[in-house]
């Protein structure tokens, strides 16, 4: 009996360990199979085209992990947008200096700023050599704007679409879209708009679906179609090769590109924690970081600056971190101004950001064409802050909650400094940190006094101000000012740039006085590029606009 039990015991234990190692080794095998095949094909192509040179591969480091490769449903995820930009062209692209360059479209013209004629490049074709025509445009728009389809594309200004930017229920056609021929189509907007806005919103922000591949799929089940797990057919200088989620994304040169064929053989986007990103820049395992999802922590500024193989520059200013006031709780503008004087923003910029940031008061970045240049910024003046608080009869016992999202270390540290500054002038602030999702939930419910986070970078100025419209559900500030509402409405409909500038300057001035939101800092992000790179760099805008020209030394 005893020996039987012994045997049973040993057997059970052995079986257990074997099962465990078997599980891991079978997955090992499949992994090796998966990874060896693409490698083989790529190296053979490279060997054919360049006989002795090793393949030109550029690796980019990012910190956030892309969630999806669906070109019409990026869900606002910047990391996904980054990798999508490598394999998907849009009609036009933007450079860092805000100039438009033609891609799939040769030109977008308009005579009345209401009807826009788009002429496609006659050579435009998908990477499987099928020509890109207006059929693809129509298919993509009808699918993406179908409210029953999972898609983040919405264009509210196009005629025939509802206010949400989608095709109204019950209809299948878009009345504002007119197909003229295989290379030309027209888009009519509901009211005249600034042509640059049209080019940015319609021209650069929409990616296309291959009609010849997806036309028979039921639109409602499009999102789960396997095409999007392996989007091999796209239109871009590079094409999809492999996506190992949370590890890396790989794209190889599209030999059938309709513009100049890319010089690089392969681009790899690696997902790394910030520490490893810096480490890999050092070891040359990556050659670039990326904006906005591959940020180099400012703590490592000196280290990266001193790396012998890296060129480090600062980007143009990015969207600021803003302190938002719940105006129903902190009702007196004097109090809000007092807070502005109390916060030691120069210290934050000099010490925390090592000078790599700008101080502005509003949400519009300093290099944006619509930035109100005449604004007199709030200075750091704690005495003035105390004075204002006294004038407003501020109760120093009153507890003020500041909600801070976790995940951005610098912002959290800036918040800590901010809190100390406010305590120093007699405001009883308590910090609460939450993950972003929880924070948004609380903020939407009005369950906060102060909160701090970054919005997005918008080219179109009106987007910075919809937050302050009194009748939007998204106005979590609950800010209500009829004068501001009027100006916002005016700005949205005015097409003349000079007149718009006047309107937006006025708007920014009012908001500057009332201060429902105060910008704390506008970061100039670090751009690290290996000295081996001949062309190519991270950028806030238009990072991949010339990706086919990117090159690396042999």
């Amino acid at each position: 009996m005893k020996s039987m039990k012994h045997i049973l015991f040993i057997n059970l234990l052995t079986i257990f360990v074997i099962i465990l190692s078997a599980c891991s080794s079978t997955t090992n095998k499949s992994d090796t199979q998966q990874s060896t095949t693409p490698e083989k094909t790529v190296t053979t192509i490279a060997e054919k085209t360049e006989t002795t040179a090793k393949p030109k591969v550029v690796s980019i480091g990012i910190v956030n992990s892309p969630t999806t490769l669906n070109q019409i449903n990026h869900q606002g995820d910047s990391a996904s947008q980054t990798v999508l930009g490598i394999i998907n062209d849009s009609l036009l692209d933007l450079t860092e200096s805000f100039e438009f360059v033609p891609k799939i479209a040769e030109s977008i013209e308009s005579t009345d700023n209401q009807t826009f004629t788009v002429k496609l490049n006659p050579n435009a074709k998908w990477n499987d050599n099928v020509p890109f025509t207006t059929a693809d445009v129509a298919f993509t728009l009808k699918t993406a704007l179908n409210p029953k389809v999972e898609s983040t594309v919405r264009i509210a200004f196009v005629d025939g679409l509802d206010d949400a930017g989608k095709i109204p229920a019950g209809q299948t056609e878009i009345s504002g879209l007119k197909i003229i021929d295989k290379q030309t189509f027209e888009v009519k907007s509901k009211t005249p708009i600034d042509p640059n806005i049209f080019k940015e919103k319609f021209g650069t922000n929409i990616n296309y679906l291959p009609e010849h591949i997806l036309k028979d799929i039921n639109p409602e089940q499009l999102a789960t179609d396997p095409y999007f797990q392996n989007p091999t057919v796209t239109i871009g200088a590079f094409k999809y090769s492999k996506f190992a989620k949370d590890q890396y994304f790989e794209a190889v040169r599209n030999e059938n590109y309709y513009l100049d064929i890319a010089k690089l053989d392969k681009i790899i986007v690696k997902v790394l924690p910030a520490t490893n990103l810096v480490a890999q820049l050092q070891t040359n395992e990556i050659q670039l970081n990326s904006l906005p999802v591959g940020l180099i922590p400012i703590t490592d500024y000196e280290t990266v600056k001193n790396l012998p193989n890296i060129n480090l520059t600062s980007s143009t200013p990015s969207e600021p971190a803003e302190l938002f006031f719940n105006v129903t709780k902190i009702t007196d503008p004097k109090v809000r101004q007092a807070f502005a004087y109390a916060i030691n923003r120069p210290l934050i910029v000099d010490q925390l950001f090592k000078g790599q940031a700008d101080i502005i008061d509003g949400g519009v970045p300093i290099n944006h064409p619509y930035y109100a240049k005449e604004t007199k910024l709030y200075t750091y003046d704690p005495e003035k802050a105390k004075q204002l608080l006294q004038e407003a009869n501020w109760d120093s016992q009153r507890e003020v909650s500041l909600l801070v999202p976790s995940g951005n270390k610098l912002r959290e540290q800036a918040a800590d400094i901010l809190v100390q500054n406010l305590i120093a002038v007699g405001v009883n602030v308590k910090i609460q940190k939450f993950d972003f999702s929880t924070l948004i939930g609380r903020v939407d419910n009005g369950d906060y006094d102060l909160t701090i986070f970054n919005r997005d970078y918008y080219f179109e100025p009106s987007l910075y101000f919809t937050l302050f419209k009194s009748n939007t559900e998204n106005n979590f500030l609950k800010y209500n000012n009829p004068q501001v509402d009027a100006l916002i409405a005016q700005g949205e409909t005015e097409t003349n740039q000079a007149k718009r500038l006047v309107i937006y300057n006025q708007l920014q001035a009012i908001l500057h006085e009332e201060l429902p939101a105060l910008a704390i800092y506008s970061e100039k992000r670090l751009q690290a590029v290996s000295k081996d790179i001949i062309e190519g760099k991270p950028a806030n805008v238009g990072q991949f606009n010339n990706i086919n020209k990117w090159d690396i030394k042999d």
Binding site: D31, T36, T224, D246, A279, T283, G407, D435, I440
Partner: protein, 316 residues
Amino acid sequence: MLHYIVRRLFIAIPVLLGITILNFCIVNLAPGNPVDMFIDPNTPQQLVEAKKEMLGLNDPLIIQYFKWLWQLLQGGFGYSFSSFAPVTHIIGERIGPTLMLTSISLTLGLLIAIPIGILSAVKQNTRFDYIITGLSFIWTSIPQFFLGLGLIYLFALHFKILPTGGMLTIGGDANFADRIKHLILPVSVLTIAIIGKKIRYVRASMLDVLKQDYLRTARAKGLHAFIVTNKHALRNALIPIITVFGMEIPLLLGGSIIIEQIFQWPGIGQLTMQSILSRDYPTLMGLNFIAAIIVLATNLFMDILYFVADPRVKYN
């Protein structure tokens, strides 16, 4: 015994069901939802509602739960809310790397800790014992992320002999040697933590047992020390040892999350973090379900091992 196993298996089903219900409640208790956080503040409410509708988030919780259960009975976990890939596919891809990492570490830990622990107990209060004790204390005192970072700095940046992370060299040859190179650092960190703890447990259990009278009797009877140690003592020290190794098994799936973050190891830990932060309910439910099964299975297995290892244990 068989009766006991059958009874346990029967009970496992309602327990599993209970666990899924509890998990579902927890997952939905977390404030925020998958839609709100991806939404650009300029998105009209109508679209937000439409999206919630499409993801089935507007149905009452009970309906959502039963829809999930129905899907489960049909053999699937549904589609991820963020990537729309099938959850079974997502989890399947990640479970291998995690298991590989943790099972290798656990096995290595076992192989190193048991003999050393026994030796340490047998040679109690000798220099060997003190050194081992000291070392194991130190190993358990260092936070994992710290050790990981330190090792990366030392071996990847300073000596440049090992990679900084990942499972393979991207764009390179995925051969065996490459895999091993990538495994060394993460496995070291995990194993060191395991060894530190386990040596103490093994040693403590052995010490408890070594003091028993019947062993003195055996020695007095003239049995050789080796046999006394291994045949008699070890078997009785086995129960706590088994328990303690059993504890590690659920950690096989959950305990490597920090290592996975640091070394960019594409495993279940990372997936869990991502899913939690993005409120990817289907993936979370899938992960939790698998974790539950593993825990239940392990505990049953451990209980069976107890019975086999110690003849005095009875289940009524």
